[in-house]
Symmetry: C2
Subunit: 295 residues, 2 copies
DNA sequence: GCCACTCATATCGCCACGGTATCAATGGGG
DNA sequence: CCCCATTGATACCGTGGCGATATGAGTGGC
């Protein structure tokens, strides 16, 4: 048999990420020599060189890169098994829902209410997280289901789009651009949020020169917008619930709308998840119909 | 940390599948007492009861079923990491292609030739397997890419449809149905192949009463058809290459056509896989165009 | 009611894994 | 140019985890 063990994978991932046996050992809470030996033994047992070592430098080989990717996936799967069975073993297993505050289009309360009407409903645990934390939470079993804006890395996940709404640009009221009509994406280039917020637009990655700290707090973002430092592209539902005097909202030509989706692990066969997806779809459909009547 | 180990997962899966500590221990090549102790220790460490034991019976709890599913996935991921890194570490890593003979629409040679023209091409290893073995081979890292008919369990996989072709029913020439026109699926119920062959049609699962052995050999299938025992629904391309005097082919109303697809793990970022997918798509498109000109 | 079956407990022995001490190689700085 | 700091490798030792054997205990069938 293969004989590959979780401990070996953890060790390798630590070394591959640190590219330094000493620091990796520290991170693992162990001494450096047994770590060196474990990696060497791993290479021997696989018959593959994973690392190029000199006494001053450690680098990954091609095979090492392959193992790093696959080991992370495998470790996530093992961790997920652990977390899910712990949850399933509780007297009242919960549905653990990962979401990002203010990105639920204000529908979360209604969805939860609708969900509880389902006979397959179980208690819900809410997992608030920053943008980009929902998907890893599904991968490693912290969450059973997530609500998040598309697009996202859906490897190993199934998902269902719920609703699509336009986005506007948020900028300071005294910003010269606020007076203009028909803003173009190019007008706003170089002023995107550095990270965290929905900056992965068609305009691409955040500006490399930016020294602004990644900011995940809504109040901070608004402050920075008021200062004219950055602009931001919130969806309509978020704007409706967070009006501020110092901030103006303007349409931008060709700005991709925001689509909210519900996602869950493909492996999931849980009736509780299915019920939540049904409830979420239901509420979103109703909400869309309302919007059509009274926009 | 979690501390869950591969050994524990293997032990649990063995017990959960056998529902018998003695047989599971035998399958694992070990004695029964340490296995009992290991499972008990696993339950203690998770704080979850996985099995209901009496001295005469072992049964899975709900949490046990959850762990069985997730443990299989995790073990596949670990095994895949092992196999993939071993392949990646070879002097000339191969592209391992899983397929089922006669279900390549006769395009495999052209696809391989087209693939070899790509600068990203590497040596190809062919993994012939019975129906249903391609997907597990992708899951546990035996294969990098697969050609197989849809639908299939695509959890964790990406895929691309290549071409769609009609299927006919194959039956004995002296079968009364062979004289009829406009066959319906209902006419053929109860005579489907028990397993292995493409029996997962809209007509559903194989008949439960059937005592016929699962048969995966083409010659055997043809023999059984000639005997009038069963009928079968091969795609057109297979028929063209396997004409036999004793067998007649007739259209069936509403019979779902067969779609050939190429599939690969979502985790894959290998240029070799991408190149093969491109080559396969290319050849399939060309072939379809030829068919349009000279059908 | 006895026996066979099956899972649990007790005890022993080994080796795998981690720790400490030390070596060896390499690159940078005085 | 040589010395020293840095960093991975080697040597050796002790412990604890894991598996084997022997045995016990509970249960269903005949």
């Amino acid at each position: 048999m293969s004989g590959l063990e979780v401990r070996q994978l953890r060790y390798f991932v630590a070394v591959a990420e640190e590219l330094h046996f000493g620091r990796a050992a520290e991170r693992l809470g162990m001494a450096q020599p047994p770590l060196s030996r474990a990696i060497r033994e791993l290479e021997r047992q696989l018959g593959v060189q994973l690392l190029e070592r000199t006494t001053r430098q450690v680098a990954l080989t091609e095979a090492g890169r392959v193992l790093l990717r696959d080991a992370r996936i495998a470790l996530d799967a093992v961790t997920a098994a652990d977390r899910r069975v712990r949850n399933a073993g509780r007297p009242a297993p919960a549905l653990r829902l990962a979401f990002k505050p203010d990105y639920d289009a204000g529908l979360l309360p209604r969805m939860l209410a609708e969900y509880q009407r389902d006979p397959a409903a179980v208690p819900v645990e809410l997992l608030m997280g920053a943008r980009g934390e929902q998907v890893p939470a599904l991968w490693d079993g912290r969450a059973d289901v997530a609500m998040l804006p598309t697009p996202f890395d859906d490897r190993g996940l199934d998902f269902e789009p719920l609703l699509t709404e336009p986005r506007l640009v948020a900028l300071a009221v005294d910003d010269p651009l606020a007076a203009r009509d028909g803003l173009e994406p190019a007008d706003l280039a170089g002023r995107l949020l550095p990270d965290g917020a929905p900056a992965d637009d068609e305009t691409g990655a955040p500006p490399p020169g930016s020294v602004l700290p990644p900011c995940r707090d809504l109040a901070q973002i608004f402050n920075m917008i008021e200062l004219g430092t950055v602009v931001w592209f919130p969806p309509l539902s978020l704007i409706r619930r967070h009006r501020r005097p110092g901030i103006a909202y303007r349409p931008v030509r060709g700005l991709r709308p925001s689509t909210l989706a519900v996602a869950w692990p493909q492996a999931s066969r849980s009736p509780a998840v299915a019920a939540f997806v049904r409830a979420a779809t239901e509420v979103a459909a109703t909400h869309t119909a309302e919007d059509l009547v009274a926009p």
